[in-house]
Subunit: 302 residues, 2 copies
C-alpha cells in the first residue's frame, strides 16, 4: 500500500482511479482545482491549480507521496486538439514532475495518448510504431514523455507512460462520441453520425482507470498502450448502443460527412498492458456499453 497523489482526480478517468486506488487500500491524495470530489473513504481531496507552479509544488511537498499519477490536462472536447493550452500543460506537468523529484517521490505514472503515434500506421505498438503526432495536443504529450523519460533516468525515478486510446463509459462529457449517441437515443432523438467506417479501439473508463492503477502498482518502465486491442468500426459501437437502448430506428449513420482528417484505423497493440503490466479489462464492448446505458438511465431517473 502506498501514498498516491492523483491529479485530474475529478475528471472522467480520475474519478474511477481514485475509487479503485482507495478500494485497494492505498492512501489517496486527490487533486482537483475545486478541491472536492466524491466522498470516498481513504481519499483526501486537495485544491490546487496546477497551472500555478508554486502552489502545485507546495502541495507535492506537503503530501510527500511515493507515487504520483498525473492525469490532469486541458480536455475541452474538440478544442483540446489545437489549443495553446496544451503548451501550458506541458510546462505545468514538467514543473510538477520536478517538484515530485525534489520531494523524494519514487514512482511517476503519466497519461499519454494514442495521438502521439503516426496514425498512418493504424496498429499502434509501443516498440515499433513511429511517433509522429499530427496535432498540438499529440505533440505536447509526446514532448512531455520525451523529457520525463530523460528526467527519470537522471533523478532517478521509476516512470511509466500510459497511452490512452478511445474511452467511453459513465461520466463521459455529453459532447463526446459514445455519450452523445447514448444521450440522443435515450431522449428519443435521432443520433446523427458519419458513416462510421473508421476503426477505433474502445475501452471502458473503469478499465482505463484500472490500467492506470495497475501501472502505479507495477514497476514497468516507459510507454504502455491503454487500449483493448479490439478493432471496432465506429458504426459497430453506435449499432450496439442502439440495440441496447432498443432504438435502432433513431440511428442516422452517414448523416454527417466524414471529418477530413479522420484516419481509417487507430488500434492499440495491447500486449504490453496484458503481459508486462498484468492487466486484463473487465468489460468487453457489449458489457461496457450496457453498463454505460444502465448508468445513464439511472442518472436520468435520479
Amino acid at each position: 500500500m502506498a501514498r498516491v497523489l492523483v491529479t485530474g482526480a475529478s475528471g472522467f478517468v480520475g474519478r474511477h482511479v481514485v475509487e479503485q486506488l482507495a478500494g485497494r487500500g492505498h492512501e489517496v491524495h486527490a487533486v482537483a482545482r475545486a478541491g472536492v470530489g466524491a466522498d470516498v473513504p481513504g481519499v483526501r481531496w486537495h485544491a490546487a491549480d496546477l497551472l500555478d507552479g508554486a502552489s502545485a509544488a507546495a502541495l507535492v511537498r506537503e503530501v510527500a507521496a511515493e507515487a504520483l499519477l498525473h492525469l490532469a490536462w486541458y480536455a475541452e472536447p474538440g478544442a483540446f486538439w489545437r489549443s495553446p493550452e496544451n503548451v501550458r500543460w506541458v510546462e505545468a506537468s514538467l514543473a510538477l514532475a520536478r517538484a515530485f523529484v525534489d520531494a523524494g517521490g519514487r514512482r511517476l505514472v503519466v497519461a499519454g495518448t494514442c495521438a502521439e503515434y503516426d496514425w498512418h500506421d493504424g496498429l499502434c505498438s509501443e516498440a515499433s510504431t513511429p511517433l509522429a503526432p499530427a496535432t498540438l495536443y499529440g505533440r505536447s504529450k509526446h514532448a512531455l514523455e520525451i523529457v520525463l523519460s530523460g528526467l527519470a533516468v537522471e533523478a532517478p525515478l521509476s516512470f511509466a507512460w500510459g497511452r490512452i486510446f478511445f474511452v467511453y463509459g459513465p461520466g463521459e462529457h455529453p459532447a463526446r462520441l459514445t455519450a452523445s449517441v447514448v444521450g440522443a437515443l435515450l431522449r428519443g432523438e435521432p443520433a446523427r453520425l458519419s458513416a462510421g467506417t473508421q476503426v477505433r479501439d474502445f475501452l471502458h473508463v473503469a478499465d482505463v482507470a484500472g490500467a492506470f492503477v495497475a501501472l502505479v502498482e507495477s514497476d514497468v518502465q516507459g510507454p504502455v498502450n491503454v487500449g483493448w486491442g479490439d478493432p471496432t468500426p465506429v458504426r459497430r459501437l453506435a449499432e450496439l448502443v442502439a440495440e441496447i437502448v432498443g432504438r435502432p430506428e433513431l440511428l442516422r449513420l452517414g448523416a454527417l460527412g466524414a471529418a477530413g482528417e479522420e484516419p481509417p484505423l487507430v488500434v492499440a497493440d495491447p500486449r504490453r498492458l496484458r503481459d508486462d503490466v498484468g492487466f486484463t479489462p473487465r468489460f468487453d464492448l457489449r458489457t461496457g456499453l450496457q453498463d454505460t446505458v444502465d448508468h445513464a438511465v439511472a442518472a436520468s431517473r435520479a
Copy 2:
C-alpha cells in the same frame, strides 16, 4: 530591418549575434540575466531572469519585437548533458514562446542541437536522420522543438530551429575542447587529449551567429543544421591549433582514455543552411582557428 529580441545575448554565440544583427541595421533588444553586455550601437540591454515566467513575459510584452531569437539555455560545461536544469529551460522556453505569440510576434528562431539526432547515424540530415537524443539535454531541446513547431502552426508563427553542431572561437568557455587546447599551448603547458579519432563538425562562433542572423532574416521553416559539413577528426583540430601556436611538442594525443559514450562520427548535412537559408561560413577550420588563437593572444596581452 526588424526589431529583434535576443535571449542568451551575453553568451558565447549571443554576443556575436547581437553585434551582427546591430551591424545589419536591426533594432536589437538583448536579454541577459545581468542585463549588461558589450556596448554596441543599436543594441539595448534588458535584465531578465527567463526562469521567472512573469518577468520574462512582461519584457516580451514591453519590447513587442517582430522576431525572437532564443539562445538562452543552461550551458555549464559537462554538467549540461544530464542536469535537471534542462527541464526548467524547457518550461521557461515554452512560456517565452507563448508570451511572444500573445505579444503579436511574427518570427521565432530557437537554438537546437545536434544532440537531438540519433548519433548512431553519424551524418545528420534534417529530412532523414532519426531523432533519438541520448541525453536529458538532447531530449529537452528535441521536446521543445516538437511543441514549438506545433504551436507555430496554431499561433500562427514563422518558426525555424537551428541545430548547432560543434562551436569554437573567441569567447569560448576555457573548459571546452578548443579553448582548453589553445589555452594550454599558449601557456606553454601540455594539452592532454584522447586519441582524437572521433570525427566532428566544427564551426567558428561568428559563423554560428551568422547562421542564426540569416535564419532570423529568412522565412525558412523548421529544423536547419548549423554546421560546416566538414568531417574533422578531433586530433586534426588539435594538430592545427598546435601548428598555429607553434608548439606541436606539447600535444599529448592519447594521454586521456576515450570517453565511453563518444560516438565516432557526428557531422552536419549543411545543404539546407547553404541552399535554403543562403548562408555561407566566412571561416574554414584553419582560418577560424587562426582567428581564435589571435584573439587569445591579444586577450592575454590586454
